[in-house]
């Protein structure tokens, strides 16, 4: 006989609604009858029967459960509200702690979501890749994009992308230096789908003299006009026609630019003379590729690497070319992955701290509810009901906290945005995934923090409780102590972490980087002002307020140019060696204030300098393998010459990078930036003088200058923001921990009130009692130190590896953080301990 199984869902429903002391046998009965009906009337009828049985019993089941559920729920709810009202301080501490921690979590979630949204808005963003050269650096050889597109059928489109300084744009009477200028190939707007307001992205870059501008630029140069087809003049040398207007690029794009022009313009106008643009040794642009769907990226990497190596005569096996998925660009170059990690950890920490608070306060306060529990048990509540009640209560509190947290988030969001440099809108909280996270947060915090008190409270024995013998047990107090220790370990780790971040940042900012960045001003030179460079220089040099004047091609403080075509005696020709370089004018060492180890600065007294002089840094001398480099031959960009001086290693890159080999070539023709050294005293007057001189010589150019030290600091904006944000979160984590401690101290003091009373009667002094009460907390914080220190050391050691030049952590900061935590803890409990110590012993002893 065939055995039929009833529908699984129906069976599951039956299980749920059965209210019988032997559910298994009943299910068995159902199954047997189901089979019988199936045999006699067919399985369809049997199914109908099975379901109808369930449906018939359902109304009464629902009625019963809802009725009794609602009755009990009203009661639970009433009790919860009464309890909150009766213990206002306790409830306030609890809810505000939870609310603050949830607000912190929400902020961190918003931040992380914003980071993850980077570059995802392009159509087919999963097909876009960036080619990374040797050592996974962004700059690639000039001919790479075209060569890859030509050679590999997988590549649909390829384009170069590069920022070019600060060209001057002029239209009629409006002239502005624009710093968001990118040079791109025609394929660029086919790869990326930046939305266009006007113009066709597919053809917009066909013409070499076309220009694409953002809405912002359009409004700046063409207010109230249709910019399409109109001309913009670049550096007073080139007329470009506006062929497209795109929407302003969203903040969550790693490619940021306001103006796009054709790459050939860069080649014709911004390339050093003598440089071979077809050379594979000249590395500069980023290269972006759009690949066919479903290309195996590992195989593709191998193919392009092989192709890449074949381009170098030396057949260098070290060279590699890899394709980085474009959506990972943010992680890769901004290294946000670690910040996401750090913030996530902080978020988890904060949640743990606030959960611990909740647990501690609830169990500590459980004595207040003992009678209620006793009565409930006597009247017939099962333990299950009580657990349900207290879990529900904690969920209710958590939900209240969530509402408060949302209020906090929506009011504080503008500050958060300015702190992080993001533009997160308040309605981004409405994303389904964030709502889901909120729900998860409420459930997690509610259950995690509610379950321990629920178990403890529901385990009370009614008889004992009603008699007034409430024994909370020593195991409970040990558990609470462990929780407090965990809380303070976390606080100490956070304090040490923020301290070391701060220390490293101030180290970077105050470290002697080898040149006088505080005294340097740079001014961009374009077109006519570029041609007037010599006049400007001489006029400014003649004034005694100016300490030095020189010029440079690549601007301070961060040089990015490298080349691999330099030649010298004994160079290892089997390797591609990239060396940083810059074109400079006379007096460079004097103006920048860099120290010469040997040799001399460029000087007009030596005619040969102009033809063949090179200044190199110590690192390059080391690379060349020489003891003394002066008078040694050196050749680059067709200029065979010799080294005239060696300068000390100087940081021309942020301190996250090692100092690399670098040389200066004397080449005043290629200078794009005027560099001035001025005394820091009386700065406004000096700048006014420079401005007057400028306006006298090149009146048609706006005068814009930059302080090198400000630009230098800008490189650390991200790290600084991270540090500040971490500070804020640390503050709140500690704040929440203190709230908990405050509550716990009041509990301990309450528990020991009789003991304190007797001590006072027997002659104990007030300070003595304060010390007595504080000593326990002190012990916990000290234990927390022991746990926190090694963890903080390991974590911060890892973080410091990001910097090529890092501060010594030192033991002091650990001690200091420990002391800080201890002080904070003692202050937090002081109100309660002093209150307990000054209380009149009569009050605490009288009721017996």
């Amino acid at each position: 006989m065939r055995i039929l199984k009833p529908p699984a869902i129906a069976k599951a429903v039956l299980w749920l609604i059965l209210n019988h002391s032997h559910p298994e046998t009943m299910i068995g009965d159902f199954e047997e009858m189901y089979n019988e009906i199936a045999r006699n009337k067919g399985p369809f009828r049997a199914k109908i029967w099975y379901w109808s049985q369930i449906i018939l019993t359902f109304p009464s089941f629902v009625k019963n459960s809802i009725y009794w559920g609602a009755t009990m729920f009203t009661n639970y709810f009433k009790m919860a509200l009464r309890f909150i009202k009766k213990h206002k301080v306790f409830s306030l501490i609890n809810i505000s702690g939870l609310a603050v921690s949830m607000a912190c979590c929400l902020f961190i979630t918003l931040w992380i979501f914003d980071e993850l949204s980077f570059d995802k808005f392009h159509a087919d963003s999963d097909q876009i890749y960036q080619a990374l050269g040797n050592g996974r650096i962004p700059s690639t050889p000039l001919p790479l994009a075209a060569a890859l597109k030509e050679t590999f059928p997988e590549v649909i489109y390829a384009s170069r992308f590069e920022g070019i300084g600060e060209p001057l744009f002029r239209r009629e009477d409006k002239a502005f230096y624009e710093n968001g200028v990118a040079v791109v190939d025609p394929d660029f707007f086919k790869i990326f789908s930046f939305p266009f307001l006007q113009g066709d992205p597919d053809t917009v870059m066909e013409d070499i003299y076309s220009i694409v501008i953002s809405e912002r630029i359009a409004n700046k140069f063409f207010p109230g006009e249709d910019p399409l087809g109109k001309a913009l003049t670049m550096n007073d040398e080139l007329d470009l026609t506006v062929r497209g207007v795109m929407k302003d690029i969203p903040q969550n794009s790693t490619l940021q630019f306001d103006i796009a022009i054709h790459y050939d313009i860069r080649i014709s106008n911004f390339t050093p003379a003598g440089a071979d643009i077809n050379s594979w040794g000249w590395w500069s642009p980023n290269t972006f590729l759009k690949l066919q769907k479903d290309v195996s990226i590992i195989a593709f990497d191998q193919k392009i690497t092989k192709f890449f190596q074949s381009k170098f005569e030396k057949g260098n096996d070290d060279e590699a070319l890899t394709a980085l998925p474009f959506t990972e660009r943010r992680f890769f170059f901004w290294e946000t992955e670690q910040y996401i990690m750090i913030y996530s950890v902080i978020a988890v920490f904060i949640v743990i701290v606030s959960c611990i608070n909740f647990i501690n306060l609830s169990t500590a306060r459980s004595a207040n509810r003992a009678c209620e529990i006793g009565i409930r048990k006597v009247v017939g509540a099962f333990r299950k009901n009580l657990i349900f009640q207290f879990l529900g209560e904690s969920l209710f509190l958590t939900l209240t906290a969530l509402v408060t947290a949302l209020l906090i988030v929506s009011t504080v969001l503008p500050f958060f945005n300015s702190l992080t440099g993001k533009q997160i809108a308040a309605d981004s909280l409405n994303q389904p995934s964030i709502l889901l996270i909120m729900l998860g947060l409420v459930l997690f915090i509610g259950i995690a923090s509610g379950s321990y008190p629920a178990l403890i409270l529901s385990s009370f024995k009614p008889v004992q409780v009603m008699k007034g013998h409430l024994n909370l047990g020593s195991s409970g107090s040990v558990f609470r102590k462990v929780l407090v220790v965990i809380q303070f370990s976390i606080s100490i780790i956070l304090i040490i972490g923020t301290g070391i971040v701060y220390k490293q940042l101030s180290y970077i900012k105050t470290k002697d980087i080898g040149y006088a960045k505080d005294q340097l001003i740079t001014i961009s030179l374009k077109g006519e002002s570029r041609r007037s460079y010599d006049i400007l220089k001489n006029r400014l040099n003649a004034d005694n307020r100016i300490l030095g004047v020189t010029g440079m091609a690549d601007d301070l403080p961060n040089f990015g140019w490298t080349s691999s075509t330099a030649e010298w005696e004994g160079k290892d020709t089997t390797k591609e060696i990239h060396i940083g370089f810059n074109f400079v004018d006379y007096d460079v060492a004097k103006t920048l204030g860099i120290e010469l180890v040997e040799g001399r600065d460029f000087s007009r007294e030596f005619m040969a300098d102009a033809e063949s002089g090179y200044l190199v840094n110590e690192e390059l001398v080391k690379l060349m393998g020489l003891e003394s480099a002066v008078e040694r031959p050196f050749k680059e960009f067709g200029k065979a010459g010799k080294i005239i001086g060696v300068f000390k290693n100087t940081h021309f890159l942020p301190l996250t990078y090692q100092i690399n080999p670098l040389y200066f070539q004397l080449n005043p023709v290629r200078v794009n930036h005027l560099v001035l050294r001025v005394p820091t005293e009386n700065m406004p007057a000096t700048i006014q003088f420079i401005k007057d001189t400028w306006e006298e010589i090149v009146p048609m150019y706006p005068f814009e200058y930059r302080f090198v030290d400000a630009d230098f600091d800008r490189a650390y904006v991200n790290i600084e923001r991270m540090g500040r944000l971490a500070n804020v979160f640390t503050f709140f984590a500690i704040f929440i921990a203190c709230l908990g401690l405050f509550g716990l101290a009041s509990f301990t003091a309450g528990q020991r009130s009789k003991e304190i009373g007797i001590r006072k009667v027997l002659g104990a002094s007030m300070p003595g009692i304060v010390v007595l009460l504080s000593s326990e907390f002190t012990k916990w914080v000290l234990i927390a130190n022991v746990i926190g220190w090694p963890v903080a050391y390991l974590v911060m050691h890892r973080w410091l590896q990001n910097f090529a030049y890092r501060v010594n952590m030192g033991f002091g900061i650990f001690i200091l953080s420990g002391l800080a935590a201890l002080t904070i803890a003692l202050v937090a409990i002081s109100y309660q301990t002093i209150k307990a110590a000054t209380a009149n012993p009569v009050d605490s002893l009288r009721y017996e």
């Binding site: 006989m1 055995i3 199984k5 009833p6 019988h20 002391s21 032997h22 298994e24 046998t25 009943m26 299910i27 068995g28 009965d29 159902f30 199954e31 047997e32 009858m33 089979n35 049985q53 018939l56 019993t57 009464s60």
Partner: protein, 108 residues
């Protein structure tokens, strides 16, 4: 003695009287046959539960069969108290019915 509700009474009576295996399905079948009315599942199992709680019934499990999805049958049996209860009920009813030989006769 305690009075039982009518369904409880009938279920108790059924279990005492029936000759088939005394578990849920058969009890329901028997009681349906005897009363000629539809008895929902709940109206059988709830009285069974209550009678067991009151101590008039005991139950035991017998070996499971595959037809029942591997679940055992639960056989119900009267306890001594259950039997006593039935006797009481019978006595009371007989006392009441004694002077009423025919229901069609109107009491004057």
């Amino acid at each position: 003695m305690k009075y039982l509700s009518r369904p409880e009474e009938l279920v108790l009576l059924t279990i005492w009287k029936m000759k088939e295996e005394p578990y849920g399905i058969n009890i329901r079948k028997y009681i349906t046959k005897m009363t000629g009315k539809y008895w929902s599942i709940g109206s059988i199992y709830v009285p069974l539960d209550r009678l067991e709680n009151k101590g008039y019934l005991t139950s035991s499990l017998v070996s499971p069969t595959s037809e029942r999805g591997g679940k055992s049958k639960r056989f119900y049996q009267l306890t001594k108290e259950g039997l006593k209860q039935l006797q009481e009920i019978k006595k009371i009813y007989q006392a009441f019915w004694k002077d009423l030989p025919d229901l069609s006769v109107k009491k004057t």
